[in-house]
Each structure stands twice: as C-alpha cells, then as structure tokens.
Subunit: 397 residues, 2 copies
C-alpha cells in the first residue's frame, strides 16, 4: 500500500526529535526557563542586518514577476556569478558560475550530489561521529554507507581504518568540517593527508573517488588561528555542498549550493548529472527571493561572538566540573565524554536535572553526548550548577 | 563515474527549454518585442498585493530567529491549521492539519507522494496530454508510467482505455485539472465517472488505487459556471498535491502542500510515509517565511481577469483565422490542433513568423501545439496578424 522504508523513516522519530518533543512537554510542567534544552542545532543568533536590508531592497525595487518568477534550474545567473567571484576572492577557488548549482539547503545539496554520482554497487564513506541523516541520504540513493571510525581523543579520522575501507566500490567520501556533532575542524595537515590517500587509491583503481565536503558550518570558527581549508584547492575530484542555514541564521529558508570542481574527472558530465538529479528529486529551482538575498550577503555571518562566548563558558564550566570534552574549534556543538559507557543512561541522569543532551550512539560513536550551545548565554550560566551536581553523582572532582 | 540517468536528464534539454533559449538568441537579433514567445508557463501577472503586505508584516513583526528558523518537517503547525480551516470553508473538505505536509511546490509534492507510495512493480497512470515531468518523477521512483489516451475532441480521458490499463499493478492515477498543457477542466461528471471506476477496480483487486490530484492551476478558471471538484469529496484514497506557484504568482519561491485524505486506506501510514519520503529526498522543511505568507494569502489569487482577457482574445483570434482549438476552461494554456499531422513541422513554420509554440508530442499526443497565454495582452494582439499569415499558408479560411 505504501513504501515501507519511507514509512519507517517518517514514523520513527530521531532521538533529537524525541528530546525536542519531551522538552515541550516538560516546559509545560515546570516552565520553559527551567528546561535546559541543548538538543537542537537551530541558530540562536538573528540573521545579520544585511539580510533584512537585502530582503526589503528586493521587495521594494524588483517587480513581483521578476522577483518571484522561476529562475533557471541551476539558479539565477547573476547570483551564481556573484558567488563564483566571492569564492575566488575569499578562498582563491576557481569555481565558474556554470559549475555552481543553487539548492534548497545542505540536505538538498547532499541528496542531489549523491543521486548524481550513484551507480549500482557504490559505497560511500563517512567518518564517525557523523550527522545522522547521512545514513538516510546515502541509503536513499541505493548506495551502501561505510562508517570509518575516529581517533577517540581528537575525533579525527582513523587513517588506517580508512585505507582498509577504500575498496574499488567506494564512489565518494563525505567530510563535514567544522563537524556536527563534534565541533572538530580538519586542519590543513588532515586535509592534505586525506587527499593524498584518496589520490593514491584513485590512481590504484583507475577510477575517481569523489570527495564531498558538507559545509554548513564553514564560517563558524572562533579563533583566528583556525582556518577551514577550501577543499577544491587540495583535491580535484571535489564537490562542495554548502548551506547558508547557519552562517546567515536562515535554516528555515532552505538555501545553499553545490560547487563542482571544474577540475574533477568528467566535471561537466558530473555537473549536468547534478542538474538531472535535482530535476528527478523535484527541485525545480532554489527559492528565488533568497537566492538574491544570499548573493547580496555571501561571506557575511550572524554575530559569531555570541557562539564564541557560549563555547568558552560551556567548555570551561564542564571541564571545571571534571567532565572530559573535545575542544570545539567550530560549529556550535560540544562533544563531551560520558563518565559511564552507556550514553543513554547518562542522558537519563542528566534529564533528572532537566539537562537535555543527545547521546552519541546515533552519530556512530559510543560514550559521548552532543551539547548544542546555540542557546541563550544565560541558559548555559544557569545550567552549569546542574552539570556540577551531575558530575558529583559520578564522583568527578 | 556518475549516474547515467541523471546525466541524461540534466544534459537533454526539454523542448520547452530549447525554445526558451532560442527566444533569447532571437530577441538579441530582432528585438525582444518582435519575438512572440508562447512557450513558458511563467505567470505574467504580479502576486496579489496581500503577498507583499504579508511579507512586510512578517519581516517587521516576527523576530529573525523565529521567522527564519526551522519549522517542523511537516510545516509550521499554525500554517497547517489555517490551510486546514480554509479547505473546510472553501471546499467543505475535511483535511486535518496533521494530514497536511508543506512542500517546496508542486514538483516536490509529486516526487514526495510518489516515493511515499512506491513499491516494487508499481505502475502509475497518467492521462495524455500530460505535463512532461510526470515521466521523470514517476520513473525516478522506479515505477512504470502508463499513458492513457484522451478523446481527441474533448481531451478528456478515454475511459475504455483506462479500464484496460487499470491492472492490479496500478498503485496510483495522476490527474491534473485544470490541465497543463490543454487548459481542460474535469467537470463533476468526469470526476464521478473516474472515481466510480477506481472504486470498482480497487474492490475487484482488494487493494487501494490512490488518486493523486496535481492542482497547481486549481484557482485558474475564468467562468462562474466552471467548478473544479475537490477530489477528497469524491474519493477516499485521494492525495492532493497543491502549489501556490500559479495562484499567487510565486513560482520561484517553491511553496505548496500535500493533503492526504484522512479517509484513505491506511491514511496515517501514508502520511507518515510522506514525511519519510520528504526526509529521504532532502526536504528538511518548506521555506519558512513563505509558509507564513501563503497561509495569510491562502485562497487569494493574482488578478485573473488578465488571463481571462488573454484567453478570449487568443481563442477568438485563432478560431477566426481558421484554426481548431480546444476551449480552455482553466490554467493559462490553449491547445490548438495543427493543420498538418507533424506538430514539429508546424512549429518550424510558426517560428519563421517568430511565433514560438510547443509541439504536443512530449505531452503524449500528436498533432497539437501548446500556446501559453500568460503573456502581455499586447503580445497576443500583435501576434494575431502573424497567426493569420500562418493560417493562410495552410489554406485555412
């Protein structure tokens, strides 16, 4: 009567969604201010004022039919030209406008890219800890998801495990730096090492292995010393999947892009395949008004100083309590080791203090929790005494 | 290296897109005012002023984080409640808010619905003439597209052919009224006859046959006597795929919904399968700002009197030239019989007069052209003498 897999994906709530619903129920009981919901990656900082200005300008100056009409399927030509120029200026990256494809956000960027590349028997590698929806997107195309583990201390890829996993069936490797759920950023040395290995294996198999860089958190880094390498400058068979959801605090507006490296193997064919995949999935064009808005605001960010302040406060507070945390260079997530092996058990104990955390199991690793610090700073300040009580229950400090 | 099917769909331009590109080239040669492009279904009438008012109101009154944040995957609860109430008021239809799923427009509504229903071996029936992308969407899920012909005079379904095509493998039937490309509206008697047949066959096979009603042109009818029946009032296993692209002249903004009849077989499971299918295809939520805007403007339309005037002018002008046209009750397309069997040949002759028309072959019928009259009225006025010359070449009148 209906598609069993779609039904399962629609009826089985994600752990994060379960917590989100619990938070609403609990808030009704004890008041929203007494529930410390660290589960959701929804930006807590308003869009930069330039977004509002660009919206008002377009609504005032551009006639309705032109403003709200279809753009070409790849996206408005001027929008793509602007972004192409900015990629050159910002990252010295050469991505011509006709290798850019505007999308309805990061999820669409990924599903379209994966469908564009998929051939029967393909495998796609992701690195734990990984964004849970990668499994849905990869398996949705028909490909097999292969999870490669991380060094438990740095949460960087386990290169020995990667080398073993890189069989001739691997079509693509997905990276996500700054990382959801860990906040870890791949520095240049990691990127270089990864690319060298992929080049070696591509040559060995006589077949391109595509590197898909999922970058919704690209701009969310908090120290001048931390640079996020632009992947097409390091590897030819690269495809960048970008979203403005976090950088411009526009997650509900669904706007991003795919950038295919023009130096990729059969780059033109891959780009056209992206266009065809978008068509098949029902993406006629990315939202027209927001295409213009993000072009006007490309490279800007919401006020990141708030996230930075939150990160310091949370990281310092938790380590003072005796918890072990991976220092997050970017994104707005902190990955904390649980003092017991079972992260679910720990989350239940935290819940008794109305601290709502996400166990790491669905991200592909055990024994951690994800704490999203895209919240009001005051929420963290008021939560820390509760974390302290929780730490004492486990005999920390 | 890449997905062959996606590549083909991305690299093979549609006939309409070919004409669109030709129109641009030709305009550069002879001036845009001398090219009569009737190929594209892009609304030529501005969005109603209420859309602009709602946009400004939301941007002024709703804080950025709430306005541009993620909504639930099904869509904002208040938005769905408003639409649900309106469906009751406007059509006496009972579609609870939790059977509505907000989408990125009609194409997304269809791809999500088809993926939600698909099981191996399924067939999906469409009626010629049909919107060309149906083939892409249906085959994209893995199902087989079965085309049922039309009565050549009325362009209504051939019910004998339909009865033969309704095998136990048929999962769904797609209807599209008012129709693209013909402008034909299924009156109540046609809908009743169709539903009776589907009920009979469902009972015979002991298996629900879903009726998918693709309704981007629902409100675009021009006579008080023409009513578009609301399908869930006639058939229980019904799913409405709606878009605001044409009614509110917002095609670039990608906003619409899926309404699952709560009386459908396993309605709850089908709805959850819709949610899962949306998730798999990468639709996180429909654009947040425009969800609120369409809720505020649901049931309104752009100024339809312009399309009505265009229809009269074009229909009367063409029949006066001696052409045979199907009178279009709705949408903004007119289907005209070609005076020769080969519609491509006729379109080439028309092109010599800079009249750009779409041959009907890709819509699944031969010997017609589609003329989109969502253009400036003056364009039609100035084109008619050219149609007259064309008619004379074929010895009409």
């Amino acid at each position: 009567m209906y598609n069993q897999k779609s039904y399962e994906l629609g009826s089985k709530r994600s752990v994060i969604r379960e917590i989100f619903e619990y938070a609403k129920t609990r808030a009704a009981e004890v008041g929203a201010e007494n529930v410390f919901d660290f589960s959701i990656g929804n930006p807590s900082v308003p869009a930069p004022q330039e977004v509002q200005q660009a919206l008002v300008k377009e609504l005032t100056e551009t006639p309705s039919v032109a403003l709200h009409g279809y753009t070409s399927a790849q996206g408005d030509a001027n929008v793509r030209k602007t972004i192409s120029n900015n990629l050159k200026t910002r990252f010295n990256a050469d991505i011509p406008a006709d290798f850019l494809y505007m999308t309805c956000g990061a999820a669409a960027s990924l599903t379209i890219t994966l469908k564009a590349l998929y051939e029967e028997g393909d495998e796609v590698i992701v690195f734990a800890p990984f964004f849970t929806e990668y499994r849905v997107f990869v398996e949705g195309t028909g490909a097999k998801l292969v999870v490669v583990g991380a060094d438990e201390k740095t949460l960087l890829p386990d290169f020995n495990a990667l080398e073993k996993a890189l069989t001739p069936r691997v079509k693509a490797v997905i990276i996500n730096s700054p990382n959801n759920p860990s906040g870890v950023v791949y520095r240049e040395e990691t990127v270089v090492r990864l690319c060298e290995l992929l080049k070696k294996k591509s040559a060995e198999y006589g077949r391109a292995i595509y590197l898909i860089s999922d970058e919704p958190y690209r701009e969310l880094v908090y120290d001048k010393t931390v640079r996020v390498p632009f992947i097409t400058n390091y590897y030819e068979n690269a495809i960048v999947c970008y979203s403005y959801s976090k950088s411009l605090s526009l997650p509900g507006e669904r706007i991003g892009y795919i950038a295919v490296s023009p130096k990729a193997a059969q780059a033109r064919e891959v780009y056209l395949s992206v266009c065809g995949a978008g068509r098949t999935l029902g993406y006629v064009c990315a939202p027209a008004l927001f295409q213009r808005v993000v072009a006007a605001c490309d490279g800007l960010t919401a006020d990141l100083s708030i996230y930075k302040k939150n990160r310091e406060l949370l990281y310092n507070g938790l380590t003072e309590c005796g918890f072990t945390c991976v220092y997050p260079d970017g994104a707005f997530y902190l990955f904390m080791k649980t003092p017991v092996a079972d992260a679910y058990e720990f989350c239940e104990k935290a819940k008794a203090h109305d601290l709502l955390l996400v166990p790491s199991d669905d991200f592909g690793v055990k024994g951690f929790v994800r704490i999203a610090y895209c919240v009001q700073t005051e929420t963290i300040e008021r939560a820390l005494p509760k974390f302290s009580l929780l730490a004492k229950e486990y005999g920390l400090k």
